[in-house]
Symmetry: C2
Subunit: 178 residues, 2 copies
DNA sequence: GGATACATGTAATGAGTTACATGATTCC
DNA sequence: GGAATCATGTAACTCATTACATGTATCC
C-alpha cells in the first residue's frame, strides 16, 4: 500500500512522469523516506493503471510511458493519508543491532558504535544540506517536512551513538561486563 | 537475516526459550525494535535448528520446545554484528506521510500532524518509562541501549510533529498554499 | 465445566530483492 | 562505433502478514 501511495504522491507533486524517473527519485531525493527498485515500480504502475488510479498520458521515445494521476488516484491518496491508520510496525535494523550490542565484548561493541556514529554524522550533514535548500519559509516545496524529519531522526541516532560510546567507556572504566 | 539474528540474540540473552515466549518478547519489550508474528518465528526456529545454529534443548508440556543457541549460533551472531555491513534501506511510513503532507489541504494536514504529535508523545513516555527501569549505570542489562535509542527517535518524531504543526500554522497565517 | 492463556504449526497472499533480459538514444 | 544512460519488463526467491487449524494446561 505504501509504495502505491508513494507513487501516487510523486505523480501528484511532479506531474506526468515515467517509471524510470520515479525509480530515480526513490534512489535520490526520497532515499531517506522510502525506497523501491525499478522491478517493483513498473509492475506497481501497471496495477495502478489497471485500477484506474493513474493513466498512461503519452508514450515517448525508447518505449517511455508517462503516467498521470487520475481524480480517483487523488481521492485514494487523500483517503489513505487522512483515514487509514498508519502502520506503526517497527523493524529497525539499527535498533536491533543496538539491542544486541551487549552480546558483544567491549572492544567489538565500541568499534560498532563508533562506526555508527560516523555514518549518521555524515548522513545528518547530507540531509541537512538537502533540507537547507528547501527551508525557505516562503517555500511550500515538497520534501521540506520529510527532510526536516530526516535530519531530526538521523541526528538523534548520531547522538545516541555518541552516548553509547561514552557509556561503554564508563563501563570499561568500572571494569564491568564484557 | 535480521529476524534470524534477533532470535539468536534473544536466545543468547534469555537462555533456553520456546517460540511462544520469543513471539511474546517481540510483541512486548522488543516492539519498538523489531517485530515478528508467531507464523514467522516457528518456521525460522526450525530453519535455525536445521542449520545447527540452535538446538532443541528439551520438550515440555503442551508440545513446548525450548531452544538453545549453539557455539555456531554465537559465532554467526557475532559475525553479523561485527562484519556484515548494516542494511541502511529506509522504508519509513511516517516519513512518507510527512513527505506527502503538502498534497493535503491545510486542515487535513494539520489534523494529521496533530494526531502524530499525540501518538509519539504517548509513545515517548511509554518507552521512557521502560528505559528508566533499565537505566541504572550499574546495569549491563539488555535493552538499555535499544531503549535509549527508542526514546531518542520517538521524541525526535514528536518534536518534528510539533514543528510541522507550527509551520503549517505559519503558512496559514501568511495565507500561503492550500 | 468453561474461559483464558499456552503452545505449535501450515497456507495463501502480498511486499521486496536480486538477477536475468532486451532494446533505444545520446554523448564522445 | 563504443560507452553510458535511458527505458521497460520478467522470474526466482526471500521476507512478512493474515487467516486457518489444532490441541493442552491452568484458573475460577
Amino acid at each position: 500500500m505504501s509504495l502505491r501511495m508513494a507513487l501516487l504522491g510523486l505523480l501528484v507533486t511532479k506531474g506526468p512522469t515515467n517509471g524510470y524517473a520515479l525509480t530515480r527519485t526513490f534512489a535520490d531525493s526520497l532515499s531517506h523516506v522510502w525506497s523501491a527498485q525499478h522491478s517493483q515500480v513498473y509492475p506497481e504502475l501497471a496495477r495502478l493503471a489497471e485500477t484506474g488510479l493513474v493513466t498512461v498520458q503519452d508514450e515517448g521515445p525508447r518505449g517511455q510511458k508517462r503516467y498521470t494521476v487520475t481524480d480517483a488516484g487523488r481521492d485514494a491518496l487523500r483517503h489513505w493519508l487522512t483515514e487509514v491508520e498508519p502502520n506503526r510496525t517497527v523493524r529497525n535494523e539499527n535498533a536491533l543491532r543496538a539491542f544486541l550490542l551487549p552480546t558483544l565484548d567491549r572492544e567489538d561493541a565500541a568499534r560498532l558504535v563508533r562506526k555508527e556514529a560516523e555514518y549518521y554524522q555524515r548522513r545528518t550533514e547530507e540531509i541537512t544540506r538537502q533540507r537547507d535548500m528547501l527551508r525557505d519559509p516562503q517555500s511550500t516545496g515538497f520534501g521540506v517536512y520529510a527532510a526536516e524529519l530526516g535530519v531530526r531522526i538521523s541526528s538523534a541516532i548520531a547522538d545516541w551513538a555518541e552516548w553509547a560510546e561514552a557509556r561503554l567507556e564508563a563501563e570499561r572504566a568500572r571494569g564491568n561486563g564484557g
